[in-house]
């Protein structure tokens, strides 16, 4: 049904989006917690900084990543020399670029559920002998799962379509960084590529729809177990 190139673009998209979510979650939970609970100097600036990818052109984000994580960049160079890890122009780099772009969405979703959570429950846990880390894992984390999951699903869905940051930082390499939107773009640049572009658009469409349905079912199930 799908041509090898189409399958390749599809699986690559899925894998890049999934890895971007994995990159995102631990840091997003930490940042959301800082923004929702901690009081520190420069919090407003930090908040704005976290939301930057939403307002910056994706190409700018890709460019900044190239400056920082490129093989001659301060972080990228260090990673390459010490661990032989190269991010620019690799599929891991594509996942990183995707993760940075969707980061604000995940933080926002987790932060909202942290702020909506009844902090009295944490106080109750404290009187029952639970320490800070214990309280976080036994009370806070389970209760914000809907927010984490919603954030993860949104990031995954948005990650399937990330274009600008990926093509700037990771380029358009078949089998490595050519995800669905990049394949579609390539098809449009090719003479007689119209049919292929249409098919790729359809795949994207089906994928997006399936993602939204899965998200809805999951969030309903979780809400039921949490009794909301």
């Amino acid at each position: 049904m799908l041509s090898p190139a189409e399958t390749e673009a599809l699986t690559l998209s899925l894998s890049v989006a999934a890895r971007s979510v994995l990159f995102n979650l631990p840091i997003a939970i930490l940042v959301a917690w800082l923004l929702a609970r901690a009081r520190f100097a420069g919090r407003t600036v930090f908040d704005a900084f976290v939301h930057l990818p939403l307002v910056l052109p994706p190409v700018v984000v890709g460019y900044l990543l190239l400056v920082l994580f490129g093989i001659r960049g301060p972080i990228g160079g260090w990673l390459y020399q010490n661990f032989g890890i190269q991010l620019a122009f690799t599929s891991t780099g594509a996942a990183l670029a995707t993760a940075v772009m969707s980061f604000p969405l995940v933080v926002r979703s987790i932060r909202i559920s942290l702020e909506a959570m009844d902090r009295g429950l944490e106080d109750a846990a404290k009187t029952l002998g639970a320490g800070a880390v214990d309280r976080f894992f036994s009370i806070t984390l389970p209760l914000i799962t809907p927010g984490i999951l919603a954030g993860a699903v949104t990031a995954f869905a948005a990650g399937l379509g990330e274009f600008g940051a990926v093509i700037t930082f990771a380029a358009n390499i078949p089998g490595e960084t050519r995800t669905l939107p990049l394949a579609l773009y390539t098809a449009l640049q090719t003479p007689d590529g119209d049919a292929l572009a249409a098919r790729l658009a359809l795949i994207s469409f089906a994928l997006g729809l399936a993602g939204l349905l899965v998200a809805e079912v999951l969030s309903r199930r979780i809400r039921r177990t949490l009794g909301r």
Partner: protein, 260 residues
């Protein structure tokens, strides 16, 4: 003996407390809503820090601002039954009841075993249920059962029902209060314990708690017409099991209303 002597400012409200209450014993604390009863509970439980002062149970000092000492709430082992129950929605009743017990220090003495809690409060049939499937009274019983094994005084907050009455109808609230106190007193008499009442007087921005009457509460009841409102019971150790038992038995009567 529970000794509380502290001062706490919150915005333009300030609370000054100086009283002592027998341990073991049942102490009823009352005053208009907003006068600081729940704040006092939080201060004793360690969820709030006093600006200055000292709280002590027997020889154990919980807070002492002079010595800059403050025992963390999680180490105080004071069970709290909150006004809004605060059951953990993602655990079953069983999970809620075991939450504190699992976190007791190894070998710590506990005044009451799990099986006793379940049978006294009649929780056996609802262990697998989720808090959101319980009625208000059932939730409160689970909250009480969750707090009991903590070992030190169980602090209970008054109910929303009593609060509402206090706000709208002082006379009605006083009737509630009278009934509740009478019932609490007869209960303490059956238990052979003394009931003491502590009244919070309030002039809007400043509440001072220093009235203490031990034994008969008739005198305090006479005052309650102006003060109205809410009761808060402070139960202490040896009494827990029997009081809990009578609470369960009188589930729909006045005493439990104190705790709802």
């Amino acid at each position: 003996m529970l000794r509380v002597q502290l001062r706490k400012r919150r915005g333009d409200f300030s609370l000054e407390v100086d009283f002592h209450a027998p341990v073991p014993g049942v102490t009823a604390l009352f005053g208009r809503s907003g006068c600081g009863k729940s704040t006092l509970i939080s201060l004793i439980a360690g969820l709030l820090s006093p600006d200055e002062g000292r709280v002590q149970i027997g020889e154990d000092v919980l807070v002492d601002s002079e010595r800059q000492y403050e025992l963390d709430a999680r180490h105080r082992r004071i069970g709290v039954v909150f006004q809004d129950a605060r059951l953990f929605p993602h655990f079953s009743v069983l999970g809620n009841l075991q939450y504190g017990a699992r976190r007791l220090p190894r070998g710590a003495p506990t005044p009451i075993g799990f099986d006793d809690v379940v049978s006294m409060l009649g929780l056996g049939a609802m262990l697998r249920r989720r808090p959101q499937e319980l009625s208000g009274g059932e939730k409160q019983r689970v909250a009480l059962g969750r707090a009991l094994p903590e070992g030190r005084p169980a602090l209970c907050e008054p109910g929303a029902a009593a609060n509402g009455a206090g706000d709208t109808n002082i006379d009605g609230a006083s009737a509630d209060l009278t009934a509740a106190l009478t019932s609490l007193r007869s209960e303490s008499q059956t238990l052979g314990a003394s009931l003491s009442t502590v009244q919070i007087r309030q002039d809007f921005t400043k509440a001072t708690i220093n009235t203490l009457q031990t034994g008969s509460s008739d005198l305090t009841l006479a005052d309650s017409n102006e003060e109205g409102a809410n009761l808060l019971a402070l139960q202490t150790r040896q009494q827990l099991s029997t009081t809990a038992l009578s609470l369960a038995a009188q589930a729909d009567q006045n005493v439990l209303r104190l705790f709802q």
